[in-house]
Structures are given as structure tokens and as C-alpha cells.
């Protein structure tokens, strides 16, 4: 494995006095595709939002390439974030959603920004929607545009916070196809999801979050077949039951 991109040391986070994460430690290296699983309310989203800098942490530290980034989002797109609700900019066309941040933040000129946004939208199979406004797209299409927008900033790590939770079950596969393609290219990723079967195919590592900490950490094979953690077994049994 490559160098460490994200390092979380003794992270604690609580909401109005209720602990969500307690002295949590984790590391992500370049090229890893890490999925976080766990029951609703186990703190999966909170953990990745802390790493992204969208939540203030109570104690501990978060390092991006060895530098402390606790509670700051000023990483200039180095951490790419894909949200549950897409959060596309509705007043920008699809193409502009990708090209405007390039112009505004990275100071690309118009033709370079347009070229790059077309390339990325082609990659997520959304080039034909270039001139459309996001509100005229389906949820799955919007999410793929959001992925292209985050990729445009050439993030060192992409974080997906339940990227398919607000989509119809039939549509989430198209988003996972895109994520799976990125995994093949070696993009470092951290994915929070309930759809364990979908990420199982391409995740290099799975973390099981329970009782405010990471209770199990290993390859998909280890998590699904070898770990003897009772909570994990119980959780997987439940999820599989729901999946059928």
C-alpha cells in the first residue's frame, strides 16, 4: 500500500452530550477503497463528516497528508465529498457545476475548464446533459454529476456519504457502477453505505462501526466470513435479511 493520506487519532465527538464517536483511530492509504458499515445512528456519517471538516470535533486529531486539518474544510477540494442529497448548485447547468469551481477556485481559463468538465461528465456518462439544469435530472443522474464535480478538483480522496440513500433502489446501481469504475482506476475512496453487497465487490477494506468505535476492520472476505465479532455477525444477518 502507498502512503497514508488520512490519519485519525483518538477522535471523540458528541452531540449535545451524547457520545457518537469515542477515541476512534483509523488510517487510509493511497489506493485504498474503504467502506464503512454499521447500523443507523452508529456514527458513520459523523465520522466522515469530521474527516471532511464539516463537523467540529471534541478531541483528538485528523491528519491529511500528515497535516492537522481538524474541523477545517479549507482543503481546496483535496478531499472530494459526495453527499446523500447531491447538493448540486441548481442555478448552474450540469456543465457549469463542474466547470465553475475550476474557474473560481483553481483559476482555470474558460476553455480549459470546459474541456475538463466535458471529459469528466463523459466519464460518468452524463455528457449529453451538459446544457441541462440539475433539477431536470433524475436523482441517479444528479449524483453522477456530483461525482464529476468532486473529481474535477483532483481530490486525493473521495468521500461518499451514503451516496445512494435518497435514490430508488433500482437507480443506485448506476451510481455504484461509477464508483466501481473509479475504484478500478485506483482512486482512494471512503464510502459510507447501507448497501453492503454493492461495495463488497470493489472495497479493499471494510470498517464496522459500532458502540462509538471501529469494532472490525479488514478485507471484505475477513468481514463477511472470518471475523468472529458478535455484533458484526448480528448486523450482517439483519442486513442480509433486509436485502432479500
Amino acid at each position: 500500500m502507498g502512503k497514508t493520506i488520512i490519519e485519525v487519532n483518538d477522535l471523540s465527538k458528541s452531540y449535545v452530550g451524547i457520545p457518537v464517536l469515542k477515541l476512534l483511530n483509523m488510517k487510509i492509504d493511497t489506493g485504498e477503497v474503504v467502506a464503512i458499515i454499521g447500523a443507523s445512528g452508529s456514527g458513520k456519517s459523523t465520522l466522515v463528516r469530521c474527516i471532511a471538516g464539516l463537523e467540529k470535533i471534541n478531541s483528538g486529531e485528523i491528519l491529511l497528508n500528515g497535516k492537522r486539518v481538524n474541523g477545517t474544510t479549507s482543503t481546496n477540494g483535496k478531499i472530494g465529498m459526495v453527499f446523500q442529497n447531491f447538493n448540486l448548485f441548481p442555478h448552474y447547468k450540469v456543465g457549469q457545476n463542474v466547470s465553475m469551481p475550476l474557474k473560481t477556485i483553481l483559476k482555470y481559463n474558460k476553455s480549459d475548464a470546459d474541456e475538463k468538465s466535458k471529459l469528466l461528465l463523459d466519464k460518468v456518462h452524463m455528457l449529453d446533459k451538459y446544457e441541462q439544469y440539475p433539477n431536470n435530472l433524475s436523482g441517479g443522474q444528479q449524483q453522477r454529476v456530483a461525482i464529476a464535480r468532486a473529481l474535477a478538483m483532483e481530490p486525493e480522496i473521495m468521500i461518499f456519504d451514503e451516496p445512494t440513500s435518497s435514490l430508488d433502489p433500482g437507480i443506485s446501481h448506476e451510481v455504484f457502477e461509477t464508483i466501481s469504475d473509479l475504484a478500478k482506476e485506483g482512486q482512494t475512496m471512503l464510502i459510507v453505505t447501507h448497501q453492503i453487497n454493492a461495495v463488497r465487490r470493489f472495497a479493499t477494506r471494510i470498517l464496522f462501526l459500532n458502540n462509538e468505535k471501529i469494532e472490525a476492520d479488514g478485507t471484505p472476505d475477513y468481514i463477511f466470513n472470518q471475523s468472529s465479532n458478535e455484533n458484526l455477525r448480528h448486523f450482517l444477518k439483519q442486513v442480509y435479511f433486509e436485502d432479500i
Binding site: S74, M81, F83, N87, L88, F89, I105, N135, N136, R149
Partner: protein
């Protein structure tokens, strides 16, 4: 009841264009000032500010919302010269009406900014937008669309409220009406004519408003 005779206005018709020009000058000037004030004050008031700035902005909004426009006009035109500040009638009218409507509409801007989903701020932050870039590129374009109907209402109101400036030594539409009335004693014909002229102007604003609303809403779900 005597017969209506609209021809009494005829000898004064040549005065109408300059009165309309002054009314429009005040109306449009005040509207532009309103836009600037409302956007700046409205967006500032959605932020955490220094206590003193917060107090000044609140005091401004409350003063202009809580006192009559005519009194504000008197303070601006007759009151300020006591402190050595002398301004012309048109300038005083534009300033007063702009500050007055700006106070009202800054609240509309504030509310429309607060109605933008926090996910928009988060997405912008993750892409590396600074606070000011987020406001300028992401939040204001969306919230101003929400505010457009209120702004256009405000524009109509300003055009109509310019009639209050007739209390100053200035011959805009209403004052012209008063003067013609004093010479002809035909109040009904004269004020109906003035009403029609005001209506024509605000009707034009309504058309303009529809155009602006259409233009600014192209991205809303169809």
C-alpha cells in the same frame, strides 16, 4: 353634479413629461439604491457580526420600518441642513426612499438567504470556496431569485410612494396635479388623469417583473 370636462388639462399637458421624468428619476434611483442596500444589509445580517455593527444595522432597519416615510423625508430635507448638510430635493427623495425600502427589502433578502439549504454551503466549502465566494457565486444568485417577486413589488410601491415627495419643493406628478387643480378646480378629472399615469408606470413595472422572474427562474424545476 357638474359635467366632467377632461379638456381642462389640455393647456397643462406640456408640463406632464418633465413631471413624469422627475417621478421616474426618483423612482428608479430609489429602486437601485434599495437593491444595493437590501442585498448588502440583508446578507450581512445573516452572519455573525461584531456587536456594534449588528446594533447599527438593526437600528437602521427598525428606524426606517418604524417611522413614517414623510417624517423621514422631512428629516432628510429640512432637518439635515441644521447640521450643515444640504441636499437637493431629488437627491433627498432618492436617499430617503432608497433607505426606507432598503430596510424593508433587506429583511426579504435575509429570509431568502436563510432559506437556502445548508448542503449548498457544505458542497461549496468542500470544493474550496471561501465564505465570500460562497456568498457571491452560490448563495446570492439562488436567494435573489426567491426575492425577485418581492423586489418587483417594492419597485411598484416606490413608484407610487414618490407621490409623497410632493411635500417637498419639487414638481413631480402629484405636485403637478395639485398645481393644475389650484388653477382649474377640476379635481376629479385631474387626479384621475394622474392615477392613470401612475398606473401606466406600475403596469410597465409588472411586465418588467414577469420578464425578470422568467429569466431568473430558468433553472427551477420545470
Amino acid at each position: 353634479m357638474r359635467n366632467l370636462d377632461f379638456t381642462v388639462i389640455k393647456p397643462f399637458l406640456h408640463l406632464l413629461p418633465s413631471a413624469i421624468a422627475i417621478t421616474l428619476k426618483i423612482g428608479i434611483g430609489a429602486f437601485i439604491l434599495t437593491l444595493i442596500i437590501a442585498v448588502i444589509v440583508g446578507s450581512l445580517r445573516t452572519r455573525k457580526l461584531h456587536r456594534i455593527i449588528h446594533f447599527i444595522l438593526s437600528a437602521y432597519v427598525e428606524f426606517f420600518r418604524g417611522t413614517p416615510l414623510m417624517i423621514q423625508l422631512f428629516i432628510m430635507y429640512y432637518g439635515l441642513p441644521s447640521f450643515g448638510i444640504k441636499i437637493g430635493t431629488i437627491t433627498a427623495s432618492i436617499l430617503t426612499m432608497g433607505l426606507n425600502s432598503g430596510a424593508y427589502l433587506s429583511e426579504v433578502v435575509r429570509a431568502s438567504i436563510l432559506s437556502i439549504d445548508k448542503g449548498q454551503y457544505e458542497a461549496a466549502a468542500m470544493l474550496g470556496y471561501s465564505n465570500i465566494q460562497t456568498t457571491m457565486h452560490i448563495i446570492l444568485p439562488q436567494s435573489l431569485r426567491i426575492a425577485v417577486p418581492s423586489f418587483m413589488n417594492g419597485f411598484s410601491s416606490i413608484i407610487k410612494e414618490t407621490s409623497i415627495t410632493s411635500v417637498l419643493p419639487i414638481v413631480e406628478l402629484t405636485k403637478l396635479g395639485n398645481q393644475i387643480y389650484a388653477k382649474t378646480y377640476h379635481p376629479f378629472e385631474i387626479y384621475i388623469t394622474m392615477a392613470v399615469v401612475y398606473f401606466a408606470m406600475t403596469y410597465f413595472v409588472t411586465f418588467f417583473a414577469r420578464w425578470v422572474e422568467r429569466r431568473s427562474s430558468v433553472w427551477v424545476k420545470q
